[in-house]
Amino acid sequence: MSSPALQTQLLSKRYRRVWALRDCSLTVAPGRVVALVGPNGAGKTTLLHAAAGLLTPTSGTVRVFAEVPGTPPALSTVAFVAQDKPLYDSFTVAQLVRMARGLNRQWDRALAARRLAALEIPLRRRAGRLSGGQQSQVAFTLAVAKRPRLLLLDEPLANLDPLARTDFMRELMGTVAANGTTVVLSSHAISDLVGTCDWLVVLNRGQVQVSGDIDELLGAHHALSGPAADRLPDTVAVITRTESGRQAHHLVRGTAPVADPRWTSRPVGLEELVLGYLREPDAAALPGPALTTIEGGG
């Protein structure tokens, strides 16, 4: 079996007295497209920085394709696009492209040229003079043209308008289809992740709360409504429960036989699932040890 694209074990990072990450253990199989979600300050950026080799963990380990982030073999396989200021402001786009070409062994010159032309990015303009959306697009182009095996994107959709978001996702999915690239992207725009990401990681308070295949997670969770006085069977785990009068509404994991017509069960969407877990930081949906190395798409 090939090495995981990304693996952390009890990864922790402390900034002075604050733990940005605490005992994070997760495994991402090659070829996965991972949605990294969580509230502000949950540790998403810290996790991405650790995978990119931009920080030293306080404790625990992180590996990308079995290599230590920041070392030469890891640097040649990983591309990272930061959320803020992903480019050098005083360089023109043409200079940035030339620099990236010189710094990377496998540089896809045609791809970079085609994409920048399609986006109508002025090559002679300094990066600092581009719009926020254009800066994001240039940074993404440089990252993809590097032909990485693992692409780390911190809030890539934040600066883009709705049309640009769709185009961006199309481009990203095209890259995955063509090269089998593993992607980890953080985002607050959960609706943009539906259909594009196939693995969900929810970070909350510096810890991994959910890690799993999105289709499997959605298949395993239900919204269950019924009389507040009734007890739910033991076959379901309740993630959230709200009561309105005599009715109780639940987000549950597990299948509940709802023969009783006073109870209704319906499927949940990705956003509903994520919000449910974020409301209950103590609830968790994590794979058992045997499941942590499932092959992507296998």
Partner: protein, 130 residues
């Protein structure tokens, strides 16, 4: 060639939607034995979805014997649908009629019955794909 679409409000996983659309096309005769399905890249370009999702849908159809993947060439229709014998439809209709009459006799109204029916359909469709 079939052209896929996405219904984000359906609550169904994307790969299930793709599987259902292929089956629907097979039932309606829009896809016939030997026809090629679009490649993962073509679907990705059209819908901006994860290529793994397309491959997952095709694997599911392959598992059911409806399509066959030929390495290096693509995925092709191996079998059509919609030849379910008319007797199967008639039997289902008869059974449902009996169920509805029993429920009416027990005091359930149309809304009650529809709620139970919907719940059962949800559960069984989820159960099939899980």
């Amino acid at each position: 060639m079939i052209s896929f679409y996405l219904d984000k409000g359906s609550g169904l996983p994307t790969y299930v939607q793709l599987v259902q659309q292929v089956k629907q096309a097979l039932r309606l005769g829009l896809l016939r034995t030997g026809d090629q399905l679009p490649t993962a890249s073509e679907v990705v370009d059209q819908l901006a979805i994860n290529p793994n999702t397309v491959l997952k849908a095709y694997r599911e159809l392959d598992r059911e014997g409806l399509v066959v993947a030929r390495p290096g060439q693509g995925t092709f229709v191996a079998q059509t649908l919609g030849d379910a014998p008319a007797t199967a439809y008639r039997a289902l209709r008869r059974d449902l009629t009996r169920c509805v009459r029993t429920a009416h006799a027990a005091g359930l109204d149309v809304e009650d019955i529809r709620a139970v029916f919907t719940a059962v359909m949800h559960e069984t469709s989820r159960g099939q794909v899980a």
